[in-house]
Symmetry: D3
Subunit: 291 residues, 6 copies
């Protein structure tokens, strides 16, 4: 299970997704009139060399988006990196160098940094959660609580920070919650309905609120179980009941202060929206020299 | 200037922008296969009534996006609000009621809440900044540091929280920074180049780092001046130098702890990326009853 | 396992997906100039009532797309159905009635029928496969071999015909094939790499070509195993080896003549591209009366 | 008229259309998470060389789409062809070679093959129809019955197979059918209305069901006449009546068994949806070596 | 041929095309921040009634686009017309009435008028050309010289003004010009190549510069001939040579002063880019009362 | 103020905007079938060299769009310019040279010229206005009356012709007109509402119809004032009243004959829709040699 926790290698961000997202972001920033300040004050031929430096301790995520911002603005802009996604940086550490027409460096700067600072913020915050539980077998994982439009990138950033991913959407796994159970007529009935309905490559997770429900759920053979809103003691009991049969996810009341006790209960995954929806940005700056 | 600080009325979110953004967010969440869990466990005819309740103190922003999520998923879903954007809510306070097919309520839930929690988080955090400076004439305002794709909505959320807006993009105002000044050959030269270039409806703001630069800048007649990275004492001197001729914006090292002293220096606007890029989400839940 | 094979209930086609696809199809058919024939010969006020009738035995799939074609062309067009997706129809049986402006009925006709005939063709062909194996526990399922742009709809049509679905894309399940195994250094190594990499809600299927590979694979604990290109005897041996531990998928050389023997080997799923890529269209016509 | 039947040269597929279609297809296959299997098991630096081989006799169509799939996934992937669209291939014949990063070859494979197999299937099936009538002057042509979203490509594939194209949409030619005639008050009235309405570069075809209607239609001077649902004898009479004045299209009950007799009646074109809507896929495989 | 010249009835603008174009135009005008002036000064509940009045003599075209602008901005806005596309209006004549929220009337105004004034300008200018040749059998027609993105609408406006349409694009008819002839090896060769290549529903027009070329072209049997850059005398000779065999289009040096002499030569169509690319806007205003 | 009138340097057209617009224009022209004429008559390997020549006196605008048309159609096409946007050309003067596959030169020609002729027409017409007022301090400027979809490009063309730009949309400046004043309860009230509402980087312009209104408006301190529909004498009085305090814009009844007298009144800007909505196209041709 240790291999599960090592940052191993990261998934690939699709170049097509990166290009589409960054293009939209550039058009959002440019409006109809473009960068009027640089057009007014910077000659078309002026060149710039810029250093992208971290101003805080953190974990980097999203370099491909930053690169794409500069290069879609102007394909002649060069972007060279000194770290890779998932790497830890210190204050003052050089992350990347951008070189090209001054107007192009200034024109792509904000979109590049908005992506990089936001995603690195998620990676960094995720990593803080991950470090609190490094001595346990548990991994922290994100949820579907992500900023609309950025899900693929935010889930990638979570992996950069040493976390793991939950479902990507409503479509790729079954997660049976209290409402589904209530309508289906019971945990067992819900799981059976799910199994009869879903293809053979869809996992079924069931959320339970009590240990009684957990026992009932286990009889129906879900692939994963989520223990929702249980304290450490109750979680420990739950872990004992499951006894290694299937992976256990804990959720509810997870934050940077509570995660250690939750992890020490012996669960496998701890999911929280905090790492995607409440991560402070990582402060990264671009220091530009124009000639 | 007090009228400036009262929350007055809010801008209108364009229905076209809301529809486009929410549609993309729904498609992101649905993938190709849609909500397999509800399809498996909830009968097509089951009905649901759900209450959207706040679980924290905060300021609401983004109800139109939440409504659109439910109604684009299924136009027959009813969405009734009990508060308006910009309203303060308490833990447990009912924000909205959703009524319709159970699958539709569950299918739109996550996108609705992702928007509402994120934007209300921004409004709430902005408001905390605003309250610290309520006794001064200063207003807190956002920057172009926003999550890509959400700028219009995040700037709206800032206004819901009692803040003000800076430029929306590179295109709608001129902001002359150190690099522009360096290339143009001086503050005065940069401002003159900007004035010669821009149309008569574009404002020109110039960023200065020292009081000397401020004095030079004032001679060229910018519309707004930004005092960057100055401490309260230096800001106070700057305010005295400007002497009411034009509005003054302070920026740099702004956070919830420093903003009061900055505001008390007498500046007009205080800009910070914190309120958009580092606002924790507001915890809002949807309590669903299915029949 | 019988419940698995009953057509139970169908998944929901997302209204947003239907709308987007049909809109593009209408624009493809209209070009810039629109329906010049009807514009030339049919008065704007002429009304039409049209019956959509099957001209063959078959299974219907895609009524929502047909409806959307008429209603996006002209929201005032009424579309009333007499059967539901998944229903069996006979030659001459009335499927739906369309009523509205004659130009609107004619304008939406082709797109409506192109979707309905294609998807019903898939449902019908899938059903022919399914009937050959109705006496076994096996289900026929589709693959990622689908017409580009129609995957969600074609997979839905397969379910309408009594088949089951495999992965929807590269993203929602892991399918380890010979190349992955070769690079990873063995079946076991590949499965372990997959488990270490993937989130806890991603199933892992491994494709094996020999019974030796199957035995090795089972040791690494995949969620599903695919026996590729094996004859009925070898499949039977494979079924014995797996002994109910995990579901077994058979693939390779599957067609309407071979599927029965494959199914009788005791496998759980039989996957084939035939049902999506080689299904003949179902002949459905629209008989129009204009007044 | 022989020149009409030689495959002459093929039309050009617009690179813009190819790029847009393939991009959408790749995003459909990648979902949000991308190719999780290859990400998990194939190192980023692994290289692959792959042969695209036919496994059946057939006619190739769509190489540009296959190439675009690999190159949009990763612009560094090399794609070299050994045959051209319209060429006949035998089982085992090498069609193309793909070379690049292993992840890129695997990532583009399915979209490339889905297009190529589908379009080559159409070309191959069209060619089977064409061969049945090679000794006559007739050509087989497609209709507007095409898979939504693929019309331009499917019509191109028909030409690759030696067929000809009918209208591309509702907009580029007038096709007067029974309903138009009924509303217009007669064949002659409909043709005159069409002529008065349409620009001088729009052809007018009229569909007739009887020889009486044919005679009436000819008086109004259409550009083309379609004899619908007539048997060979009636067609022969129709051909005699038209006597070379305008081209004659036969339609209705056209299939691989009936087309010869229809063609021998002396008509010029024989249109059928079979070649686009019911063409079995051509089996083409990609044999990959990863190093 | 008189029927050809009466304005008969107009083609239908596809609602889908109108919606897409107008949506993009509204987003262009709204930017990210929307109508800041009305948001600032007009209460959300204020109502408006507005009259759309012509300020010049002209022909109206594009009412559907104007209506869509108001109704996409706000579906509750009512739009009532007093004239129809193709109608002649006088200065001061009421064209339409808009009623709804004041902000919605003001928000949709500019896009509505930009479309309506531009397209009515084209209709009006076309009509001036048409009136000069009303006593002849000739019709004025547009070309592919249209403002990018507006071709369908501009061609429609030409019909509203009493003109006719040429090709809609490169795809719907063959127009053989000097370059094609030069490469093909002669007029006859070019026409034969076109006939061998094109489907049976594509018309072939050939452009000739001299009467010798005309004679050669006629032998190859084109569907239409274009006499390019010939004076009235030469045109008259050309008309005599063709002798009614096929329609004749004149082009080159066509303007409001030359068109009469060209038409009196006996040609059938006279094509000019003037009516689309150089038509002055029609002055239409919106008089608003807010309560 | 002279620097304001020199053509100084031009703004940058965003490559992303150019690419998106031109791509849509090419697809509009190509339809589904592409350039059937060239496909039929020009061999795939034929090469062409073409000269883009002006046929009139004028000012060039839009070369980037023309280049993009050829290069998006076929990236191998070379496009070399001999003048720059904003340059004056004479009849016969060579503007650019295009070199590449003959089909590619012919395929991109129309879109390239449609943009270039339209935008150069605007630049040329703007320049004629500008020359009439060259001896005054006034500049001619455009409005929001632009062809939908082309605003960014048309405003750019106005600058190429020596004009200036007004607002780009409803969002980037406040323009208070009679309706806003009426609802707000007076000029002063409207300006105050605007100031309280808008961010500090938004300029406020107010339109006044009388000198009384002007005086009242000045008390509220707008950034710019527009004198609407005033004759030269009244404008002169207005100029005296304002006395240099803020810039003055004149509008209403502006045309090529009236603009001189308006300018001589001493106003700063003169706005008119004529230069964007009624500019005749500039006649530019492409002379092609194919080998």
């Amino acid at each position: 299970m240790a291999s599960k926790k090592s940052k191993a290698h990261l998934p690939t961000l699709s170049a097509l997704q990166v290009e589409e997202a960054v293009r939209a972001a550039l058009l959002e920033d440019l409006g109809l009139a473009g960068d009027v300040t640089s057009d007014a004050t910077i000659p078309a031929k002026a060149k710039a060399v810029a250093q992208m430096n971290s101003r805080e301790d953190g974990i980097i995520a999203g370099l491909a988006l930053a690169k794409s911002a500069f290069q879609q603005f102007d394909p002649k802009t060069k972007f060279k990196t000194f770290v890779r996604d998932g790497d830890r940086v210190k204050p003052g550490q050089k992350i990347a160098q951008v070189e090209g027409r001054a107007r192009s460096v200034l024109g792509g700067e904000r979109v590049a940094l908005n992506y990089l600072c936001h995603l690195s913020g998620i990676a960094t915050y995720t990593n803080q959660f991950a470090e609190r539980i490094a001595h346990t077998k548990a991994v922290v994982c994100c949820t579907r609580k992500t900023i609309p439009g950025l899900r693929a990138f935010e889930k990638y950033a979570v992996k950069c920070g040493g976390g793991s991913n939950h479902r990507y959407g409503l479509d790729d796994a079954i997660l049976i919650k209290d409402n589904h159970i209530a309508v289906a007529g019971g945990v067992r009935e819900a799981i059976e309905a799910a199994r009869a309905f879903a293809g053979h490559l869809i996992k079924i997770e069931v959320e339970v609120d009590t240990l009684e429900q957990l026992k009932e759920a286990l009889k129906a053979g879900p692939d994963v179980v989520m223990l929702d809103n249980m304290g450490p003691d109750q979680l420990r009991e739950g872990v004992a009941i499951v006894d290694g049969a299937i992976p256990i996810e804990a959720s509810g009341n997870v934050n940077i202060d509570t995660i250690q006790a939750i992890a020490e209960s012996g669960v496998d995954m701890i999911s929280t929206s905090k790492i995607t929806m409440s991560a402070p940005t990582l402060d990264i700056g671009l220091d530009i020299n124009i000639s």
